[in-house]
């Protein structure tokens, strides 16, 4: 039994481009240039119950559109989508009872009233019994540490406080599936850690499936074993984060701090690696394969005097950036 099944899912939008200038605008009045944009292009994937999946891609890659189709907000142009055994947009009201959604940039809570009032209303909306509510939410409120915030109106909360409340609000009916769209955007590190910790916990406790979109790769690293990567509406990678790192991130970065000024040409002559300048003309970074590491260090150390040296793994962020810049093929 899959939590999410998607097959050849496609969403097209019609958009029009306007002609330039006054004369063009007049022409637009009568005929317009239409263009079909395929935001999501025949994607297929499945997610098992209890999985935590990172859904990543650049702006406009089709992440939000996919999430909106999975949550029943948008109707797909074509393809099959079954979430929690239902067709999201066809049985919307019954379906949304089984999911929780957090949009990082949009509030679910009522702006002017105390947080607990919003909770009470949502409890009614999702038809949660008092017993279930108390049992489940007491734990949620405690773990997210939002007890002291409950009697404050949302507009008086800081972004981090609000976000924790949003998360709690999305979990009032204890849904088996949780969609998080940029849940940590703009938050400071401590709040991020707290939220990640919490998500892990509910995943373990209730076997909640979580689909997460984010720009913050550290979120993905902390939470998701599996990532789905999107580019121009197509899935370009679907698999474990581990494998992604092994295939595209096996390189290392060696930071050298020289005693004297060194030029790139000299270094290139010395060892054949990708050299990049650091903060100043004394520091250089070599991008090398793990197997070449010893060789490169040996060469440099024997030729120059060094003040400092350290080795760094390539971060997931950089891996992703490289993939988008160079394409996935060379892996």
């Amino acid at each position: 039994m899959y939590a999410i099944e998607v097959e050849k899912l496609r969403k097209e939008f019609k958009s029009y481009s306007s002609r330039s200038g006054l004369a063009g605008a007049f022409r637009d009045l009568f005929t317009r240039n239409y263009k079909i944009i395929r935001a999501v292009d025949d994607i297929s994937f499945t997610v098992k119950q209890g999985e935590m999946v990172g859904y990543i891609g650049e702006n406009g890659a089709g992440k939000s559109t996919t999430i909106k189709m999975l949550t029943g907000i948008l109707t797909p142009t074509s393809g099959r989508v079954v979430v929690n055994g239902m067709n999201p947009h066809k049985e919307r009201e019954r379906f949304v009872q089984t999911i929780g959604v957090v949009f990082g940039q949009r509030s679910q809570l009522w702006w002017d009233i105390a947080v607990q009032e919003s909770f009470r209303l949502l409890k009614k909306v999702y038809r949660v019994s008092d017993q279930d509510y108390n049992e489940h939410m007491d734990h949620v409120i405690e773990t997210l540490d939002i007890g002291p915030l409950l009697d404050k109106p949302v507009r008086k909360l800081s972004l981090g406080q609000r976000m924790r409340c949003e998360l709690a609000a999305a979990l009032i009916h204890n849904p088996p599936l949780l969609f998080l769209d940029e849940p940590t955007i703009g938050l400071d590190v401590l709040v991020k850690l707290k939220i990640r910790q919490f998500l892990k916990e509910i995943n373990e406790k209730y076997n909640t499936t979580i689909l997460l979109t984010t720009h913050d790769m550290t979120d993905i690293e902390a939470l998701c074993e599996r990532v789905i990567m999107l580019d121009e509406g197509k899935i370009i990678y679907d698999g474990s984060l581990q494998r992604l790192k092994q295939n595209w991130g096996e390189g290392k970065q060696i930071h050298f701090q020289f005693r004297d000024i060194v030029s790139k040409e000299e270094l290139m002559l010395l060892v054949d690696a990708t050299w990049e300048q650091g903060e100043d003309r004394y520091s250089w970074i070599a991008h090398v394969r793990a197997t070449d590491m010893a060789h490169v260090i040996g060469k440099v150390v024997s030729s120059y005097e060094l003040k400092d040296i350290h080795i760094r793994e390539v971060s997931t962020e950089e891996i992703i950036r490289n993939i988008y810049e160079e394409g996935i093929h060379h892996g």
Binding site: T75, R120, Y126, R127
Partner: protein, 261 residues
């Protein structure tokens, strides 16, 4: 049952919110009162220069206006979603609405309700009472039931028209100025439709049936027997209008494109 309990839940939320902004409430009352005053002044000034409007007296016109205010107040309290496009489509609030297990239109009605508008209904009753006493109208016990039916009919006619207009936002992303203009057209239902020519009378009866919010139902209480057929059609028109608009809405939700695309 579920929907009723949700309704009261939202209502209590609404009251809590409103009580935080008490001065706003006062200002809204006053501006509503002014709105009603403008129209009343128009009628009074006009009848300073004429005795009859196509056979209708001043007090009859005032009675129609008073009646009109009651369904209009109900409409304004619950279905006044003129800013639906701005608020829900452009700003993407519709996304949030669609992730909750309650019919989307019902949620929006609840979120946008403005109960203070109901006060306009009281003004309407007072205006009607004043006109009725000057006209020496007499009422039967069952007139109360008919009054409620006609008021609800009128409310749903208004609601139907405005919901349909709001639904257009699902198809066209253009910001529309139709809504504010529609209030002007709604006003014409307050005058006896026999002063208009055939085309406008037809429009006000069958296309934008605003006449069912004012003159048609009022004609019954004014004992204008020649209009009775239309008077009794009021609840039917209300149901038809409202049903069509909800169907249009449901079709629109399927077309929803989401914000920021």
């Amino acid at each position: 049952m579920f929907y009723i309990s949700i309704f009261f839940q939202y209502m209590s939320q609404y009251v809590k919110t409103k009580l935080q902004y008490r001065t706003d409430l006062l200002v809204e009352f006053l501006s509503d009162l002014m709105f009603q005053g403008v129209n009343l002044i128009f009628i009074l000034v006009v009848f300073g220069h004429t005795q009859l409007l196509n056979g209708w007296t001043r007090d009859e016109i005032i009675f129609i206006y008073g009646f009109f205010l009651v369904p209009f107040a109900l409409f304004a309290a619950f279905f006044n979603i003129w800013d639906f496009n701005e608020r829900y489509i452009v700003r993407g609030e519709m996304d949030r609405v669609l992730t909750r297990p309650v019919h989307s239109l019902f949620q929006i009605v609840l979120e946008r309700m403005e109960l203070e508008s109901l006060l306009g209904g009281i003004t309407g009753l007072i205006v009607m009472g004043y006109a009725a006493s000057r006209l020496h109208l007499s009422f039967h016990w069952y007139d109360v039931i008919l009054f409620v039916l006609f008021v609800l009919g009128g409310t749903f006619v208004y609601a139907g028209i405005f919901i349909s207009l709001a639904s257009i936002s699902f198809w066209s992303d253009a910001r529309s100025s139709i809504m504010p203009m529609m209030y002007n057209i709604g006003n014409y239902g307050r005058y006896p439709v026999d002063i208009y020519n055939r085309v406008i009378r037809y429009v006000l009866t069958w296309i934008l049936p605003f006449a069912f919010v004012g003159v048609y139902p009022s004609a019954y209480f004014l004992r204008k027997t020649e209009w009775y057929t239309y008077s009794f059609l009021t609840p039917v028109m209300g149901i038809v209008c409202f049903t069509l608009s909800v169907l249009l809405w449901n079709a629109g939700v399927k077309r929803y494109r989401g914000a920021g695309n």
